[in-house]
Amino acid sequence: MMLTSLDPRVNRLQVPAEWPDLPVKNQLDQWATYEVFAQKRENTAYAYVGPVHAPDLEVAFLFAKEQYSRRVACFGLWVVKTQAIQHTPYVNDNELVWGMINIPAAIRPAEPQQPFEIFILKKRGKAHTHAGMVMASDYPAALAVAKEQFGDQAPCVNVWVMPAAQVFKSAEEDKDLWLTLSEKKYREPVAYKVLDKINAFKTRTISNP
């Protein structure tokens, strides 16, 4: 017995109506989560838009493109593995998180430095926004430098720190990837103005049942 459906595609798949006992497959690894930041207007700061699940960074970028750029304006995406992000505790909206950041007792400038990207959250419930890049030897040092450079930015209730080397950034020469066509209105739900027709249909069927 095959599964039958009103959807002809389902019928074509020839799916059995009842599944036989399938051989048990080995448990595959869970996909990791990645965090996505988008540039919503040209030459503005990148801001957090949400997570994706993916097997690696390249696929994460694909999924992010699909999920976070298709229906809203987008001029670029950054994607980073969630595990690569470290963050401060959250404080309430009327408090400042910078006061909770301790400058490490000994900053060792001799150690090899690398760039870190700093994102700050101005208000709980809003999105983390890119504040800038700092050079540091590790996460705590990066946070300390961020406090020096951005500590005058208030309000600030949370800070995210991530090594720039681990952030996958869309390329400048791929800008045309983000051009969605203005005439493709059929992609937007607002393009379907059907309520009038539905109401007319209801009136007709109710008055002439």
Partner: protein
Amino acid sequence: MNEQAIKELLYTLADNQLVLGHRNSEWTGIGPILEEDIAFSSMAQDKLGHSLAFYALLYELGESDPDTLAFMRNPSQFHCCQLVELPIGEYDFSLIRHFLYDHAEAIRFEYLTQAGYEPLAKVATKLRGELKYHLLHANTMVKQLGNATAESINRLQQSLNDAFPYALGMFESSPYEAELASAGIFPLESQIQTQWLENIRKVLAQTQLQLPDLESVMPVFGGRRGVHSEYLQPLLDEMAEVYNLDPNTEW
């Protein structure tokens, strides 16, 4: 310049995009994972949009309106290659077809942006970014699954072997191509095929997949002259099912 030559090129471009767009849309709701369901659906939407742009150019040249061209023709009037008509099969086949097709399409679009026929060059320039994404999607997924498990590699290899003769059929020549090439409008199909082979080899070299031996494969030609597989008619019936209920209705 021969208008017939331009029209034949436009029909070939438009019909390929329309039919593959419809095929890809069949994944909507039944994709293997949600993200791929969405990706195939949105690429399908892009391809339908591209076909509309090409049909609109045909309309300007005096052909019927886009809806009539899409919904009212017989299979023998379609110029698409047989590769795009084949059923979606399982995901591995649809992915390989998408990979083989969009590598060719990306090359075509690059040439079209420089076409010595301005309306076409304009359309191609506007749509090129979407093709770039389709290619990125195909390459990423083929590299991912072409190196993953024995099952994924075997499935993709089998699909590659099955699709390859049809893929070569994408480069069917037309009686007008020498004229279009000398007018600087569009290169010879053989030239596109050479570039295509080079490009897909570069990606496949990063996977466990082997390109079938060119010498041992017979290309499946005919689509461009209206000779199609048994799968096109049912596809057109299904695509036009709603339209045919009342062709004169206003949407």
